[in-house]
Amino acid sequence: MNHPLSQLAIPKTGLLLFRSSLAAICLLDCFLRLRDLTLMYSDFGLLPRSSLHLLLSDQHVFNPTLTSGHPSFIGLLLLVVMGLALAVLFGRDSTWILVCLWLGMAFIQERNPLVNEGSDHLLRMFLFGSIFLPSKPDFQGSRYLAFGTFGLQTHIMFSLTAAAVGLGFEEPLSKILLVFLLVPALGLWIPNVRRPLAIAALVALGLYGAYFDMYLAAVLAAAVLVYLPGQGEPDRVHCSPAVQSILEPSQPVTLGTKIFSVVLPVVLLWSGLVMVLSSIPQTRDTASSFNGALRALYLDSRLEASQGDSEEETSETLTVVSGDTGEVLLTLSSDEGRRTRLFLARILKHPELLNRMIMNVGFAAERPGRIEAWLETTPEDQGASGQEPQKLLVGSTNVVLSKRPHESEGVGI
């Protein structure tokens, strides 16, 4: 096939590598989330469903993980998603499995948006994009061309650009990475230089992971793998029916395929643009207003969360104590991990959510009376600066343990 569009085709090997890497990341992500199951994702933890609904009170979001607040329910869902990821990892990549994996990941991530990073959004956008690529049994050529492949490549370009721009221009390493990520982002469209540029991008992402954000680097690296062509195979491009209908207008094509062919690239383009806008501090507000419409469909993407939601120069520890006895009910430190740091930084900005969290900790520990939350801030280089740790009362609430009688049972007459 000599049509110029055939240059946009994705190699089979790259596609398989891309899907397997995404599945492996999902598996690892779910496994890590399992550790914080009760604390982060259940009604016994820090963000009960009532708090989440308060947070979402101006958004139209439907999340089936809120059906129950019991940790076993979320645990079961996580295991199901892990099962789906395993299926994709071992080559069972049918469209339905990919749809379920995408939705499963999106629902679990949104169960606690306070711990989400930009890489979580990016992961689920790539999962969404992978739905529109062919499954393993459908593959007939060495490369594949569809609206999905075009959309995916556009999204990879925007993601690399957003990651590069988000680093800023201050540090020397940021400047080097900016070049090494921006050049592949634009150059990956040129067929003959794809392989070296992809390798350069992978090296740059290795550095990015080592110095900035390992998770985001891993997701981006999984996407860049799509450009690695297999060797020794005869080059034969296989086109999707929609693309075929453009190349050969006499070919019949259904209305659904036509609509789908237009909608998918538009969604991915929109989402990609919003992602780039959200990585620039000056355009972040504009981006979030565009994101609202995509959010209801779990197609919003932003990378800004990975870069600057929390202040890394200080170490923060939140302690929830019983005001009457002084008993420590919960300790949460930003040193415990990236997600905990994000959670702390974000919940401290929402006094009502913080108070509900304190109340929930009191309920879960069955400690009635006054419950207080203290925040201790310690500078990272405490020895050098000579600054003392600061301790502040950030919230308090009065817990009354009254199990309401369940009123739905019996005949209401």
Binding site: P48, S50, S51, P64, F73, H406, G410
Partner: protein, 473 residues
């Protein structure tokens, strides 16, 4: 022998399915008028307030907890309507029944203060119907089925079928067992007092209030009838079963004519239809009904001009596993329901066994209809407010009796002295007023409740009025 005793006719089950399809559609239609006020964030209890209650939040589940956005709630209700239509025409019946049970349970759990006995009865019967072959006749599934229906139209024996019969028996049997108060056993004044619950009594019921001797007979007859229904249903004589079903229908028709119990009498009338014996279908008129209902799915397909796909069937290799799983599940559910209902009746409190939690399975039930005594709560609700410009506002939704589910909301509030619902309701109506009249918002509002307690010997207590909630700007 078991066929007369525990047998179920496929045609009767088909008829039951059609009636349940209509019932669920009617229920959804009724709820749709107030869906925004009851189930969304713009209503009386947004999920951010509702789920903060400790007991509810941690133990129970509902698909409607996934979102309280009006868009998604409306979409879910429409989806339920579509499923009810599919149940009505018998398309993919088993799958649809399971989905409807889950969604109906979810809808009821979204705001349990609106739930009444009819909802509970509908839900638990729908659970047992998940195990019944009620899509084998009068359905689109039957057109696609490769199996011929049995000549005697009998459904194969199943524990689910036993559960369905037992469930009807449980309603009436425990209804009688709970009626041990003096109003039922000594004075026989229970029906008299029941007809004095002013916000529930209909015109015919108010007219009947003048016939005092009738009430003594009615109270005794109700108790004897309820106590005998479980025994009568299990007798192996088709005539007795038919007469019992007729008796149940008459009893519930009486309730429907005298009291506004919403869905309850209609669920009560229609539910035993699945028990109609083969004898019923031998009469010439019912044969016509049989023919008409058998023809209906074919006509529907011709009218729509489409052919439905094959119903879901498990591969033959694994069918035995499916049957065993289904029967085992039904057996566990039946034993649990019988055991825990007896325990609750004996001890007077809901049993608390962590591994046998009927509330989570949405099968918990307590059929204490007007028992042990009739709590006479002739409630008059008055919610009045004054605007900043000095106008008095009487909020319109609080008439003595309305056809929406609001009065169950208020009934539940009254049962629980610590109820938050009065305040929640007051805040809701005031906020609604303030949103539509920003230039003249409410400055002060009060929720006043007037009720009468039960006396004895056909006497009524004097009205008492209390302030239940207040609002200040």
């Amino acid at each position: 022998m078991w066929k007369e005793w525990l047998g179920l006719d496929l045609r009767s089950l088909g008829l039951l399915r059609i009636c349940y399809g209509f019932l669920i559609l009617a229920d959804l239609f009724h709820r749709s008028f107030t869906f925004r006020a009851h189930y969304t964030r713009d209503g009386v209890m947004p999920l951010s307030d509702f789920l903060v209650q400790q007991d509810l939040a941690w133990r129970l589940w509902s698909v409607f907890y996934a979102s309280d956005s009006p868009v998604f709630v409306a979409a879910l209700l429409l989806f339920m309507g579509l499923l009810a239509l599919m149940l009505l025409v018998g398309h993919r019946t088993t799958l649809v029944t399971i989905a409807l049970f889950i969604l109906l349970s979810s809808l009821q759990m979204r705001l349990p203060y609106l739930v009444h006995g009819g909802d509970n009865y509908l839900r638990v019967i729908l659970f047992w119907c998940c195990f019944l072959p009620w899509g084998k006749r009068f359905s689109i599934d039957s057109l696609r089925s490769s199996q011929e229906p049995p000549k005697d139209h009998q459904a194969p024996f199943s524990i689910g079928g036993v559960g369905y019969i037992c469930q009807i028996g449980i309603l009436y049997g425990f209804g009688a067992l709970y009626k041990v108060g003096p109003f039922w056993t000594v004075e026989h004044s229970a029906v008299y007092y029941a007809l004095h619950i002013e916000h529930l009594t209909l015109g015919f019921g108010q007219w009947l209030v003048g016939f005092e001797p009738l009430f003594r007979f009615a109270a005794s007859a109700t108790w004897i009838f309820e106590a005998s229904v479980p025994l009568l249903l299990l007798l192996p004589f088709p005539w007795v079963r038919m007469l019992t079903i007729f008796g149940i229908a008459t009893f519930h028709l009486g309730l429907a004519l005298t009291l506004d119990l919403q869905l309850f009498p209609w669920v009560g009338i229609l539910t035993p239809l699945g028990l109609l014996p083969a004898l019923f279908w031998r009469a010439s008129k019912t044969k016509k009904l049989d023919r008409a209902l058998t023809e209906a799915p074919k006509r529907l397909e011709r009218f729509l001009g489409v052919k439905a796909g094959l119903p879901f069937r498990m591969s033959e290799r694994y069918q035995w596993a499916g049957v065993w799983f289904r029967e085992l599940l039904a057996l566990v559910a039946l034993v649990a329901v019988l055991f825990l209902t007896v325990v609750e009746w004996k001890t007077g409190a809901p049993p608390n066994y962590p591994f046998l939690d009927l509330r989570t399975a949405r099968l918990h039930q307590k059929w204490s209809l007007y028992a042990p005594n009739v709590n006479l709560r002739s409630l008059k609700h008055e919610v009045k407010g004054q605007t900043v410009n000095g106008h008095t506002v009487v909020f319109d939704e609080l008439g003595e009796r309305d056809w929406s589910r609001w009065h169950y909301f208020r009934e539940h509030s009254h049962k629980n002295p610590d109820s938050i619902q009065f305040q929640v309701y007051l805040n809701y109506v005031v906020n609604r007023w303030n949103l539509s009249n920003p230039e003249d918002p409410i400055a002060f509002a009060v929720y006043r409740l007037e009720f009468r307690d039960t006396q004895s010997e056909f006497r009524l207590g004097s009205p008492t009025s209390t302030v239940k909630a207040t609002y200040f700007r």
